[in-house]
Symmetry: C2
Subunit: 223 residues, 2 copies
């Protein structure tokens, strides 16, 4: 019994990696928290090498920061970093939305994005933070996948959207009132196959998100 069944499916580092990302969404880990290698080794029951590899990957994606000879910590975004990230996401999401709209006719793309939007618009889903987060991720992932730009798909997870979602989850106002009509505008434009309109809608949404975040108190950000 050297390893669990889950471990076999995708290598031990993958287990640790997904475990940490998932733990982030579940609140098990919070920004700023220390991640001691020995603890992770015990929690996930894998070798330290696997833990280190998982941490390396997370650090490469910017989700955790590794300080020399100090514990790795869940990264916490400062106000400036958040602003930078939002500005970048505006560009990337606009690009993704445009590509998606241009390819809505291909394959069963229309069906996929419609389903993703439907579950996002479900009031039942909106009540549960975890379910809503998943639905939103699915919507964005579908949008990116529709674009069929392999490089964009590769790069998108390497932005720190997850961090934004988690760090500001307490401030529900950020994406409360505005979000659903924004998502609807993006979906409509994609569904109509209007690339330019989709890009604008996506950029507007992110820009509004940025404005809302700008209004948050300093306490929401890393020192």
């Amino acid at each position: 019994m050297p390893k669990t069944l889950a471990a076999k499916s995708d290598g031990s580092p993958g287990v640790v990696y997904r475990g940490i990302v998932d733990g982030l969404y579940r609140g098990r880990y919070v920004p700023g928290q220390r991640l001691v290698e020995a603890d992770l080794t015990r929690d996930f029951e894998v070798g330290r090498g696997s833990v280190r590899e998982a941490l390396s990957r997370l650090a490469a994606e910017g989700l955790v920061s590794m300080n020399l000879h100090r514990s790795a910590t869940i990264r916490s975004l400062s106000r400036a970093e958040t602003r930078d990230l939002v500005a970048l996401l505006e560009v990337l999401n606009g690009f993704a939305a445009r590509l998606a709209a241009e390819r809505v006719e291909e394959g069963n793309n229309r069906k996929l994005i419609t389903e993703a939007y439907a579950s996002l618009a479900d009031v039942e889903v909106q009540r549960d933070f975890l379910r809503f987060a998943r639905a939103r991720n699915t919507f964005y992932r579908t949008m990116v996948a529709m674009g069929a730009n392999h490089e964009l798909a590769r790069l998108m997870p390497r932005t720190n959207v997850d961090l934004i979602r988690v760090q500001f989850r307490a401030y529900a106002t950020v994406d409360d009132d505005l979000r659903m009509e924004d998502y609807r505008a993006i979906y409509d434009a994609i569904n109509e196959g209007q690339g330019r309109k989709a890009e604008t809608a996506a950029r507007n949404h992110i820009r509004r998100l940025g404005d809302a975040i700008d209004k948050l108190p300093d306490g929401a950000f890393a020192g």
Copy 2:
């Protein structure tokens, strides 16, 4: 004699990482080549953990692909992947150029970008592939640094510009005639502080690059 002096400066993984990227530009490694961990361990005289970490980082950046239980290989771009990458670079470089133009007045930004452009325009530099590659990298890095968007700076190296540069270096026509006037247009717009113009110039340059690559024969791409 547990470790070399070079290794001490930035950790063993960094040595391997830079060694491979450098070897790529020098022709020591070519796209498609296998990278056996044991060989790298011997060549760079570091532990296997360091080799694996370096490979992980390179894989995260997309420079090498790691197949489970098979050798890591230098990634080779297919025609479709190249097209995707160019489309993405067009967006990102346009964004970077716009930011740079908007901040040309700050600090000694104007001086830095002017120097970077000067060494790029030096006919002496243009004769040497390696020197020119370095000057071009410096120009782009300066442009990104001027923008002062931390997230963009973090994400840019994770695109596979290096791969494009190396894979199509044999086909000099790609960026021969058009390149210098394009770079001049970008530089001028940045120097004038005209964000919109800089973005357009940068996007036009990348688009032209893409058009040239589109005309290359199938032999230039991965099967």
